[in-house]
């Protein structure tokens, strides 16, 4: 077997690895249990009993209390919590995979919304064109472009503001364009507004002290 530096070092360290001192370990466990039972009546704001792994202690190992005699939790995540910071190496990869999947879904939803809106406002001419003979697929191209955009911007889902705007436009646009009652009301409103504008212009006297008149004088 080849002798390498790492092997030699670990051989040395392993040879000097101390034996477990069960008495000392047991004594420490007893001490900890005694300390916990001594402060068993104390609770923190969530109602949890004293646990040295969760609650703040002083240098003597006694719990630190608030003014209201409540235990104070240590900052950071605690042992056994779901959102543990334990690194398992591949965790990041799976997060990336799920983010990418949600971006693809968001991109497809965005493109479909835009297509629907286009169809509503502009009619059939605005629907996506797919021509396999020419290799044209507008929807697919749109999905890819939006997916790249979301990836570049770090957006995992469609922003809620965009969804609200899409809904408002899809609700209002067809009614404005095609609803007979809406169109007549809009025409009346436009006429009323124009009449007000023309009336105001007719009443306004011409300005006398203009730059031109000053120069002429």
């Amino acid at each position: 077997m080849q002798v390498t530096l790492t092997k030699t070092l670990v051989d040395d360290l392993e040879d000097n690895q101390p034996d477990v001192q069960e008495n000392a370990v047991q004594a420490e466990a007893d001490k900890e249990a005694a300390r916990v039972s001594e402060f068993a009546d104390l609770r923190d704001r969530q109602g949890l009993a004293f646990d040295p792994a969760i609650h703040k202690t002083n240098s003597a190992g006694e719990p630190t209390l608030t003014k209201l005699n409540k235990l104070i939790r240590k900052p950071g995540r605690k042992p056994g919590q779901k959102n543990s910071t334990v690194s398992k190496g591949s965790t990041n990869t799976s997060t990336q995979d799920s983010s990418q999947a949600s971006r693809a879904i968001a991109a497809a939803a965005t493109v479909d919304s835009i297509g629907t809106l286009g169809g509503m406002i502009g009619g059939e001419e605005w629907l996506f064109v797919t021509d396999k003979a020419q290799g044209l697929d507008e929807r697919q191209r749109g999905v890819e472009a939006w997916e790249q955009y979301y990836t570049a911007k770090g957006i995992d889902d469609i922003p809620p503001g965009v969804l609200v705007l899409a809904w408002v436009v899809s609700y209002a646009a067809p009614r404005i364009m095609g609803g007979p009652q809406t169109r007549s009301k809009l025409t009346r409103a436009k006429d009323w507004l124009l009449s007000k504008v023309f009336k105001r212009r007719a009443e306004t006297p011409p300005k006398e002290n203009t730059v031109k008149s000053t120069l002429e004088a």
């Binding site: 070092l9 690895q17 101390p18 042992p79 910071t85």
Partner: protein
């Protein structure tokens, strides 16, 4: 004194050496517990193995150390996590051996770690460091040859044991260490 100090400047090779040791321990069936604020995934080839546990949280780390026995324990950036006044972490050096643990404290400078902890270490792996730090360590470990540590190349390090001669090796090529003779002793 089962614990080790791994000291040296940034990018001198401390963590490279520690990761190699970590993997070798696991290959031998010895459990490894790592406290690494940077969450580096390179500490293990099999991060899901029962022999490996890594965290960034001090409390979680200490709970894990107390719940296991005869493990190799690595504390990266010990200057921050162990420091001078963190008594809970000092426990690791003073009482950790009762649990059969072999602790490795990684830091840029020896003085960043409390003397109580430094005194519990029987091994020093010293990478390149400042002249001042080298002098202090030479005095502390009673090894005059450590004053030359400022001239070590990247990856090179001194292997120092309390009661035997100093050796020199490189963390990058994994070749066996060679003995280093003090200049005065060599002349004699």
């Amino acid at each position: 004194m089962p614990h080790s100090l791994v000291l040296g400047m940034t990018e001198s090779g401390k963590t490279t050496l520690a990761k190699k040791l970590s993997k070798e321990y696991q290959a031998r069936g010895i459990g490894v517990i790592v406290l690494d604020p940077l969450q580096d995934p390179e500490w293990s080839d099999k991060p899901d193995s029962d022999l490996f546990f890594q965290t960034t949280d001090k409390d979680e780390f200490l709970a894990s150390v107390k719940a296991s026995k005869r493990c190799a324990v690595f504390i990266d950036e010990s200057g921050e996590s162990v420091g001078q006044y963190d008594t809970a972490m000092h426990w690791l050096a003073t009482r950790g051996r009762h649990y059969g643990h072999n602790c490795h404290f990684l830091s840029q400078r020896g003085q960043q770690i409390a003397k109580t902890v430094r005194d519990q270490c029987g091994r020093l792996y010293l990478f390149t460091c400042s002249l001042t730090d080298a002098k202090i360590l030479a005095d502390e470990w009673n090894k005059p040859e450590l004053r030359e540590a400022h001239g070590l190349e990247q990856g090179q390090f001194f292997i120092v044991r309390r009661f035997s001669g100093t050796e020199i090796a490189s963390a990058f090529d994994d070749k066996p260490a060679r003995k280093l003779l003090d200049k005065k002793r060599a002349k004699a």
